[in-house]
C-alpha cells in the first residue's frame, strides 16, 4: 500500500514517516514542497534517511495515486490537501484542527463522503485497545449507572519551541481529550462551553500554556478538562491522558499510559517513571493503515473532528468574553 506524508510542518510528521517506514506493507512517499525557511530540505533529508520516495510538488505526489495520506501541513493548507486526496481516492489521517474555520472543516467532511474515502483525525488514544476496552465497560449499565460527569487531563510537556496557536495548550491539548469524550458520548453535541487560560509558563500572552475547559453536552453530561502544558521533562505527563468517568452508581478511571516502574535514577537525579504499553502513535498509524487497507475507517471520523473543532472555537470565544458560550444543538440531537 502506498502512503504519503503530506508536509513536515507539523511537529509529529517525522514520527509518522518513521512509523510508516517501519511497516512492512507500506510504500512510503514524502512530500514537503512548501519546506521551511529554517530547514528547506527537511522532507527530502528524511525521505533519503528512510529510503522513501520524495515528491517535489503536490501535483507529483497525487499523480503517484497514494492509497492513503497523512496530512501534517499548516492548518490553512489542510482543506486543499484533503480535497486533493479525496479526488485521488486516498483515505486521510489529518491532524487537529481540520481547518481554522468550521465551514472549511464541514466542506472537507463532505468531499470525503462524496469521494467514498474515510477522513480520520490523529487522536492516538482513540485508536488504542485500552480505550476500546474502557468504552465497552462504560456501555454496561451496571458499571456506572448513568454517566454524569467526565474529568480529563492531558498535561503534555511544554513544547521546546512554541508555534503560537497550534502549540498553545488549548489547540494542541484539548482535541485528544474532546475526541475521547465524543467517542464515549456517541457524538452527542456540546451545548455550553466555558474556558479559562493563562500564559504563565509560556511567557507569551499569545500562547496559552494553561487551560481548563468545561463543556455541558446536550444530554446533560458535564465534562471538565485540563489541557495545560506540563513541565518540559515530566515523564509522568508525557505518556498520555487520564480520564475519570463518573456515573450515578460508580466511577471508572482510565489512564492511557499507566506507570510500570518507579524509583530514582541517579544518572539524571530524577524520579524514575516508566510506563507500559505500546507507543500510542505507532498504534494509531498501524490501525489507520490496516483500516485503509480494508477500505474502512478507524479513530474519530471527520464529523467528530468538526464537533471537536466547534468546541475548541467556542472555548476560544469564551476566553475572550470570560463567559460560557452557548452552542446551538442540532434539532435531531435534542432529547
Amino acid at each position: 500500500m502506498k502512503v504519503a506524508v503530506l508536509s513536515f510542518a507539523h511537529e509529529r510528521a517525522a514520527t509518522y514517516a518513521r512509523l510508516l517506514g517501519d511497516l512492512p506493507d507500506v510504500e512510503l512517499v514524502i512530500a514537503d514542497p512548501d519546506g521551511s525557511p529554517d530547514d528547506p530540505s527537511r522532507g527530502r533529508d528524511t525521505a533519503r534517511r528512510l529510503g522513501a520516495a520524495y515528491a517535489d510538488s503536490w501535483d507529483e505526489v497525487f499523480a503517484l495515486r497514494p492509497d492513503a495520506v497523512v496530512v501534517t501541513s499548516e492548518t490553512d493548507r489542510r482543506r486543499d490537501l484533503v480535497e486533493r486526496a479525496a479526488g485521488a481516492g486516498a483515505h486521510v489521517l489529518c491532524e487537529h484542527p481540520l481547518a481554522a474555520d468550521e465551514a472549511d472543516a464541514q466542506a472537507m467532511v463532505r468531499v470525503c463522503e462524496e469521494a467514498g474515502v474515510r477522513l480520520s483525525l490523529a487522536s492516538p488514544v482513540c485508536f488504542g485497545p485500552a480505550f476500546a476496552a474502557v468504552r465497552q465497560e462504560l456501555a454496561k449499565e451496571e458499571v456506572l449507572g448513568d454517566l454524569t460527569t467526565v474529568l480529563g487531563a492531558y498535561n503534555r510537556p511544554r513544547p521546546a519551541r512554541s508555534r503560537a496557536a497550534e502549540s498553545g495548550a488549548l489547540g494542541a491539548g484539548a482535541p485528544p481529550l474532546l475526541d475521547m469524550v465524543d467517542a464515549v458520548l456517541g457524538g452527542t453535541p456540546a451545548q455550553q462551553v466555558y474556558a479559562q487560560a493563562n500564559s504563565v509558563l509560556s511567557g507569551d500572552p499569545d500562547v496559552e500554556s494553561a487551560a481548563l475547559v468545561t463543556v455541558r453536552y446536550a444530554d446533560g453530561t458535564v465534562v471538565s478538562i485540563d489541557c495545560s502544558w506540563g513541565p518540559a521533562d515530566d515523564a509522568s505527563a508525557a505518556g498520555g491522558p487520564t480520564m475519570t468517568f463518573v456515573g450515578d452508581r460508580g466511577s471508572v478511571e482510565f489512564t492511557a499510559s499507566p506507570r510500570l516502574v518507579g524509583g530514582f535514577d541517579s544518572a539524571t537525579s530524577r524520579e524514575r517513571w516508566e510506563t507500559r504499553g505500546d507507543d500510542p502513535y505507532a498504534v494509531m498509524i498501524g490501525e489507520f493503515v490496516a483500516a485503509a487497507g480494508r477500505g474502512s475507517g478507524a479513530g474519530p471520523d471527520g464529523a467528530a473532528g468538526v464537533r471537536t473543532l466547534r468546541i475548541v472555537r467556542a472555548a476560544r470565544a469564551s476566553l475572550r468574553t470570560g463567559q460560557p458560550v452557548e452552542l446551538a444543538v442540532p434539532q435531531a440531537a435534542r432529547s
Binding site: V200, D226, P324
Partner: protein, 328 residues
Amino acid sequence: MRQLEVALIGAGLIARLHLEAWTGAGASVRVHSQDGRAAELAAEFGAKAVDSLADALDGADAVDICSPTGTHRDIALAAIAEGVAVVCEKPLAADVAEAEEIVGAADRAGVPLYPAHDIRFAPAFARLHEVAADGRLGAGTVARFTVAGYHPRAWDGHASAESGGILTDQMLHGVDIAYWLFGDVVRVHAHYQGEITAPAPQGTSATGTAVLTHASGALSQVVSRWTPTPQPPIRVTYHVAGTGGTIVHDSEWPQEIQVSGGPAGVLGYYGESPFAAEIREFAQALRGGPPPRLVSHDALAAVRITQAAARSAWTGRAVELPVKGAAA
C-alpha cells in the same frame, strides 16, 4: 499557665471530633447543644454540659461553634459581644451577607475568629502549601482538586438548588485550598449535577464542577462529589502545577499500612487526625501564640467563592468577584 476555657456548641459528629481535640490540647470544655445530646457527649470526655448559651459563654476564652450553619451567626455575634474568641466550623455562614456581618463584628471588636477548615491541616495539603510557600512550585499556573465522599446519613438540611444545594458545603474544602495556594479569585464558573437539593437520602449522588480564575492568572478546577457507594468513604486528589514543576497527591495511594481482603471499611494508619492539629494550633493562638494558618477573612473568601459557584450553576453564567485593590 491557666487552662483554656472553651464553650463547645453542638453535639453532633463534628462537635465530637472537636471535643476530642480540645481535650487533647488540654482545654477545659463546657458543652451546650439544642438537641439534648450535650450531656452524653460531655460525659464521654469528662467535660461539663451546660443548659444555655449564656452559661456556656460565661467566663469562656473561646466558643467553638459546631451547630448547624443557620445558627452560626447568632452564636458568633453573642460571643463577640462578650469578647469571647470564636472558632467556627465551616462554612462560617450560609450566605455572604451573614459571613460579612460576623467577620465585621469580630474585626470591630478585635475578637479573634478562627474558621475550622480542617483540610488545611491534613498532612498532604499542609505539605502542598509548605512546598508552594517555599517557592519550590514557582509561579502557580494550574491546579486540580477533587474530593469525593460518601454521605453516610440522610441529608436533613433544607438546601435549595438556587442556594447551591448540598455541594456548597463539601466544595468548600477544595475552594479553600485553591484560595490558600493561589490567592484571590476573580471569576467562578460551576455546574451542579445530581441530587443537589436537601433533604436528600443516604447515599445521595451529586457532582459539582467548578473553575476558578485567580487574580494572579492561575487557574483551579475544583470537583466535589457525593458518591453513591461507601467505598472508599472519602477520596481526595490534587495535581498542582507551577513554573517550578508539579506536586500531586492521591489519598488512594498505598499508605503506611495497607489492608487487603479484610472487611470493608478497615483503614490503614494515617497519622495524627487533622482535627487534633487544627485545634492545637487554635489553642496555641488563643494562649497568645502565633496566629493560626487561617483567620476570619479566609472563611469569608471561601463563602464568597462557593456562593459565586452556586450562583453560576443557577444562572449558567460565569460570576465575577470584586477583589479589593485589583484593577477592574
